[in-house]
Symmetry: C3
Subunit: 344 residues, 3 copies
């Protein structure tokens, strides 16, 4: 037993500690193809080298969410093996595109600690950075999780709760230098709606649904080298069900949002997110979006749009989010808040 | 709702209209690997760069049916979202090989319209062309579908039914310029049977069977960016079953036909085809072929063979096709008529 | 029926016969991505081009077990189509890394024949060699299978049972010339345990479990072009179950062994192996290892470790192997004996 990883417990984290996560990963065309097999992904910038070239890029980058999942997956053995709950995300920014052939690795810095009053667990805040093979940061985000204590007698650390922005300000968004939407081909992209056609407060029902299979979410979760037992081992939970990785629902909902948001091409910031209820195989997932904000950018032809992306289970009324008690309705799986780039 | 694609209805089509379909797609080695995971594909020309080089090609092309599925998939949001039935194919020709790294897009021209006597739907004939990034046509075919009317009061268009060839004449087959089977290695290809060994009228039972899983047909159908709801959403049909994309059955049957037709390497024409009965997960699919015709070609060592490929469900008698009433037997899933190239 | 492959029967084999197996296969990044989706594979040398470069290699090689499965898969139509049982492996050596873009093919030489006393079947021993496109042997191993007789009146051949080493001697291990573990990054590799930290006789419980789905083992088995009916056709066995390819269990167990053996990077020899009991979809597979031996090598920083890798079904007691009767316990799926390379 001494050779295997038992994971870190709450008392093992220290403010300022930097954890260099294991197993770098080269991502290439194979991951791109699998992403398109696992999700109904159709955003043209990630589907076609030609389309990407017309937008100023050298070729089609690796999907933003592949980058997120790979960077996130590496943190699991060090951050969430003994986690009770994934509580939130903030201040996520995509800083550089990831290209086929790039090798990604992750580091997390502990930026907050707060023991729970029950003395049995605590909240750990980490800022995770994804690096490419040139040691450039391609992505960073803050995540906080509730982690069990291994030794209940360990003293509580001094409470440090980081001040986190509830939204990444539009002036902090990082846009690839070459990106240029002035020659954008709306017809090839699939929809005529440009940035100016969306109004703050507008809601879009993305119409389509996908019924999830065990094989699919496991293929995806393994591909990102996320090894949390609960996703793979039907004997782990008493009910014999495998919990679906929250990121699988993110990617599925994002892909479904093509229908109505085909031109919200590039994800540049993750303002926040909640995995409101667990998702299991057999669930049919639908999605809706709300335009939360809009902003101009300096890049030619490029506007920013802040979107709420909500994934719900089949049977939910249109635009279901919270009940009268202010809590997420039971059919809500995901409530994600992000910035995307869209042609003007 | 105004932002999402409701699809075209019968009254939205006009003769001569050209629809430029959305979301170009770069296909590469990842798609090749997935094709081999999804189907028991073993035709050597598409499995080995070395084998392809010995046949005069620069490397192993992308499977002909990947090209077909990708080109077809793009037409779905514009042609078959409100389709009631996929009625037929004709005059399909593969014009150029697709190479790893190529980017495909599709256009469809409306070449026929015929409103049904019930006034509720009509038949739309389109000629679909698949283009690569040099705007060369790699594939074209005619397809006709029955499409619902959205506005029942819309007037019927003038009836235009295109004259379609029931078979692509052998002299119209397009063979890659470099293709040369004179150094063909039958041992590595898997079978000794050459073009001269097949007789018109000969039938071959391909022996093997594959039981289909939901995850597999959905992975495949998504990979071709075919978004028809009925393939993915178990809540869509009253019986809770997901209808399997007809192209999945085509690829499965073609791969099974290796056993007996290992040397029918390259598909060059689609003369016709019918998805005779729906296919569902759990079905065990088998296949048989009949040699319909043979023709010589100008390419060195290359003969053409016209084949009927029939996919049936487990339990069908050998060579089941039609009942006494002339209709397809209920176990028949697919009846496809194509030309392939084979070493002399 | 005359065109399809009925497979070889026991009486069809001759000592010294060399069978050149069909369908060469080019393996590349797509297969690498799929391998990571199908198995929880995390060994850094096969995950990251950067990590591999730091170990002296030009890039990340194709996983050793991909090479094994591809080479093995090609032998199935010629060796095991009419096999009753896969009896054993011996003298397996990985001779050269396989790189993305390489094309693999296989040949098998019949080195032993022994008819069973019942006169209905016999044991065939073959030495299978996998070649790359330069006709270099990348892998070879001996395998013996029990094969049915097709013609029960065929005379028994002279019995020849090859003398096989029970273990590949460490001095015979072939290590890639460039391999150098002196700059090995244990943190990125995922565990601090080096060659010196493992003791002969030590056992490691790899903790994690994976519940197997039909779609997954079929995707994998097809990817290696292994066409044995019993893996794909639910109508083949009376109980309606599809038998899982033994190699799927090997790869799954090897990937699970990361947790405790993250630094056992490269497989260089297969000393022996038994598929102790059949595996079916729905089984939850766990793994444990035992250190059987250790040896030094001439390569800088590189030690060799001989490991027993055992895959068991959920519910097995820790380190389950054999019952009091000396037979494998019913929960044991696999007992594999191999040499791996590990940093000193």
């Amino acid at each position: 037993m001494g050779k295997t990883n038992a994971g870190r417990f709450f008392e093992d984290y220290r403010i300022g500690q930097v954890i260099r996560h294991a197993v770098p990963r080269t991502v290439a065309e194979g991951e791109r193809a699998l992403y398109h097999a696992l999700y109904p992904a159709r955003h043209a910038l990630y589907s076609s080298d030609e389309f990407a070239a017309r937008c100023g890029l050298e070729s089609s980058p690796i999907d933003d969410l592949i980058a997120f999942h790979v960077v996130f997956g590496k943190t699991v053995p060090d951050v969430s093996l003994n986690a009770v709950a994934n509580l939130g995300y903030a201040e996520g920014r995509w800083r550089l595109p990831v290209w086929p052939g790039d090798t990604l690795r992750s580091e997390s810095e502990v930026i907050g600690l707060k023991e729970n009053s029950n003395g049995k667990s605590g909240v750990v805040y980490v800022r995770t950075r994804g690096y490419n093979q040139m040691d450039e940061v391609v992505l960073d985000y803050v995540r906080w999780v509730m982690v069990r204590k291994g030794d209940l007698s360990a003293p509580a650390p001094e409470t440090v709760v980081p001040e986190l922005k509830t939204v990444v300000p539009p002036e902090d968004l990082l846009i690839p230098e070459e990106l240029d939407f002035t020659e954008y081909d709306f017809e090839l992209a699939g929809e005529p709606h440009r940035w100016g056609d969306y109004a703050v407060g507008e809601k879009i029902d993305h119409v389509d649904g996908v019924t999830i299979e065990e094989a699919e979410h496991m293929l995806a979760t393994r591909l990102w080298q996320n090894t949390a037992k609960v996703h793979f081992d039907a004997t782990f939970r008493e009910d014999g069900r495998r919990l679906i990785y929250g990121g699988h629902v993110i990617s599925l909902a994002r892909a479904l949002s093509f229908n109505g948001l085909a031109n919200a091409q590039m994800i540049v910031a993750l303002n926040g997110g909640a995995h409101a209820n667990p998702c299991f195989a057999g669930d049919t997932v639908r999605a809706w979006s709300e335009v939360l904000d809009k902003a101009e950018t300096d890049a030619p032809g490029v506007g920013a749009i802040r979107l709420r992306l909500v994934a719900v289970k089949h049977g939910a009324e249109p635009f279901t989010l919270r009940g009268a008690d202010g809590k997420y309705a039971p059919e809500v799986l995901l409530d994600l808040d992000y910035w995307a780039l869209m042609p003007l």
